[in-house]
Amino acid sequence: MIKLFLKTASVLLLALLTYALMVFAVFFWLPYMDSADYMSAILDKDRLLRDTPSPKIVFVGASNLAFSLDSERVQSAIHLPVVNLGLHGGIGLKYMLDSTRPYVKKGDIVVLVPEYEEFFGERHYGEAPLLNVLHLSREGWRHIDSVHQYRVIWRYALTEMKDTIHAVYKRSSSSGKIYSRESFNRFGDMVAHLKEKPRKIESYGVPLENEKFNDRVLVDLEKFREYSEGNRAAVLILSPSIAESAFKMNHAGIQEVYDRIRTYDGLGAIQKSTPEDYVFPDNCFFDTAYHLTGTCRETRTEKVIMALREITGQRKPVSTRRIGSP
Amino acid sequence: MMKEMISERLKKVILRELDLDDFDIVESTSADMVPGWDSLNHARVIAAVEDEFGIRFRTLELIALRNVGELQELIDKQNRDRP
């Protein structure tokens, strides 16, 4: 019996080790599938975050921030350098917070704009795009500290493997497409879509009602706030820009997100907007219910600037420049 | 004590229902031994036996039947109980 047991255990262990080795090989030996694709922009954003001197403004969130924000305008209004880290919600809010945290220094303002789905199910641990990021940026592994994130890695490892191996003998490039690395400007904003005509957005509902609200997201947000304010940086939470039809479809879930943040100790005070503030008509959007384009993007940016002004107005000026001047 | 034999009459009914020319039916013969005596035909055979002997069994007794010998016993019991 013991013999059988040990034999079985050794076969299983061997298989497990093989699989782990395959995953390791993919992430650490084989190159990322397409160094010009949308996700590769994470490297530029990381560099931006590292190299921009404090005090600075950092925007943390998903593609909502990438598409729907004009950082240059924010910078000229607030007179602080701006870093737009927004890229893809699939990276998971947890990773976004953890990877930003080491670079939050005294005098910084961090604007958190989590998309509503992050609060439900296990989404804030990430999905397949997290693996893209980890493949592109080896240092990213330092920020993986949760079992849940390892589960995400296991879940999508096969996909990443397949894509990587496929790219080895059939390189494709996203150059020239909107969703590519070169579509970002020097602040980290996506700008290629601004020249294009808006496409019809599929008015999909983010299916919030099917999943449970995840309290851990609030815990992680609060931990981030505590750390930042401990480093004498300010944090605020703003709502993402969202299309009217998606807002209507998921009103209950969205309201729940707002209420839970509002009533959570420590987070309520830094939530500086309501979901309705950032609802825009459907025709303002480029291709999804989160990606603004055109003048609506500017309107949204203005609202963000107003929220920032409230904060900077309350703080002692850190430089002799007059903050808030037109 | 002489064992109950399977009456010729009973044998004939069974063979006729199953469309068999000849088959050796004894007390220990069970349905699965006889070609064609499957679950679908079983009820028909029993019904035919009842019609032949002019008797009616209780369903409960029939379900417990295991072989032709027990069927014969049931028939004999009915006959004994008749006035």
């Binding site: 019996m1 298989a15 919600g89 699939g90 789905e117 969703y179 999943e211 | 079983h42 409960l60 379900i63």
Partner: protein
């Protein structure tokens, strides 16, 4: 706990080791406590109450029926036993359907997710051990079986963990003697058991759960589709439910084998059936034998003077009952009714079959066998539509829109990565190969006759395959697809 979970993966070897190293006298205690813990892990006190009720009443009644001389007394006790078990079964099902939206199902077969929305009352296992208990009592009554006097052993007969969740439904004379005989560690048997578990995991986690990805979007949202995609989804569902259920059964039988218990086979290549009657001799065998012996036979006997019509009615009623047993939803009832009707028709048709074949000059040969399998498979699929659809109206929609074009197929096939389709094809191919292999010789002997190196490669490759391609996560709606 479900068979395809980390919990079970840790539970099984722990209980097995404990069982193995316990003195023979007390082994039944280990197995019983393990089984109760296994059932309790579902987290539903109502289930334990149901099991306790069924176990205690059936145990007592079994002994009483065996000991009573008077036929009237025996009959009364039997009916009490049947009534109690049916009462438990029906009330658990009603509770279940009241707290779950959508198609209720007892063992999860209908929706193939073992755990419906949290907060609902599950009815897992109840359907199985209640009818098993009924068969136990009836067998004692008919004197084809005897009562078990050891309460622990009897409890195990009903609740031994490999079979408590989804069967097979064991007759007393098959399982109880095995529980009585002392356990002897059988290396070869244990090895086969583990391979069987691996096979079951392969079927369930690699194939069935993967096919579900394609079936669910269609059946859960019928109005977004039309045309041939319904036919494809139905074929896929036919495969899915087979691999899901037979996979689960493999894990059950394999697990039991580790404890020296041989449970009854439940599946025998069902889709190779040449008639609906043949199908039911190959699909969920323990269940169809149960309804044959305890519902059909008595009914048929009762209607014996109705000729063929009597048999036909008995069949329809039997399969109607089978539908209700699966769940109190219209889908299950129609499914059962369809099978009953198919069988009823065949009862009328069969006596004329030979003469019809002669008239059409059809000879029994491989061509007619293929034709019969084709027809049978499609009749079965037709019934599956009702079994799986979320409502009668959905099923109606599917049937009326089945032939209206091919447009949506591409959409379905591209809804997941192409890799998924390749894995499906490869895995089904492996299954087909093994089936072919199994037809010519005993699969296990073939494997074990190979040198050790070959065997170990096979074990290793199987483990790696399941590890890589198994579906370990419940489907989360994948919002953040790569653009």
């Amino acid at each position: 706990m479900p068979f395809n979970s980390l919990q079970y993966f840790l539970f099984l070897p722990s209980v097995l080791l404990l069982f193995h190293f316990t003195r023979d006298r007390w082994r039944w205690v280990v197995l019983l406590l393990g089984s109760l813990g296994f059932y309790a892990a579902l987290g539903d006190p109502y289930l334990l109450a149901a099991l306790a009720t069924v176990t205690m009443t059936t145990y007592v009644l079994g002994i009483r029926i065996g000991g009573t001389r008077s036929p009237r007394g025996k009959t009364a006790l039997l009916w009490i036993g049947i009534a109690i078990n049916l009462l438990v079964l029906i009330s658990m099902k009603i509770l279940h359907s009241m707290t779950v939206t959508g198609n209720p199902s007892p063992s999860g077969i209908g929706r193939l997710d073992l755990f419906p929305a949290t907060g609902s009352i599950l009815a897992i296992g109840v359907s199985y051990y209640t009818i098993q208990a009924i068969s136990y009592l009836v067998d004692i009554y008919l004197e084809t079986g005897e009562a078990e006097s050891h309460p622990g052993r009897f409890a195990l007969y009903l609740s031994v963990f490999p079979k408590i969740l989804q069967g097979p439904i064991e007759r007393g004379r098959d399982l109880i003697p095995q529980l009585r005989s002392p356990y002897v560690f059988d290396y070869a048997g244990a090895r086969v058991g583990m391979l069987r578990i691996a096979g079951g995991l392969f079927k369930k986690m690699v194939i069935a759960d993967r096919l579900a990805q394609y079936v669910n979007p269609v059946y859960d949202n019928v109005h977004a589709y039309s045309g041939v995609v319904f036919i494809v989804a139905t074929y896929l569902y036919a495969l899915q439910i087979y691999y899901d259920f037979s996979g689960y059964t493999d894990i059950a039988l394999g697990s039991a084998r580790l404890f020296g218990i041989r449970l009854t086979e439940n599946f025998r290549n069902p889709y190779t059936a040449t008639s609906i009657a043949d199908f039911w001799r190959r699909w969920h065998i323990s269940f169809s034998r149960w309804i044959l012996d305890y519902i059909f036979r008595p009914l048929q006997m009762k209607f014996r003077h109705g000729g063929t019509g009597g048999t036909a009615v008995a069949l329809i009623l039997t399969f109607l009952a089978s539908g209700f047993w699966h769940g109190f939803g219209w889908g299950f009832v129609v499914w059962g009714l369809l099978h009953g009707l198919f069988l009823a028709c065949s009862v009328y048709y069969k006596p004329h079959q030979r003469s019809i074949y002669q008239k059409l000059a059809v000879t029994a040969g491989w061509k007619s066998a293929i034709w019969q399998r084709f027809i049978t498979f499609h009749l079965v699929c037709l019934a599956w539509i009702f079994f799986r659809a979320n409502s009668i109206t959905d099923a109606g929609y599917i049937l009326t829109h089945m032939f209206t074009g091919t447009g949506k197929i591409a959409r379905l096939l591209t809804s997941h990565e192409r890799l998924e389709i390749w894995i499906c094809v490869l895995s089904l191919g492996i299954m087909a190969f093994l089936y072919h292999l199994g037809n010519r010789r005993d699969k296990w002997d073939y494997l074990f006759s190979k040198p050790a190196a070959v065997r170990w490669c096979f074990y290793y490759a199987t483990a790696l395959y399941i590890l890589m391609f198994g579906k370990y996560f419940s489907p989360q709606t994948f919002i953040y697809g790569k653009f």
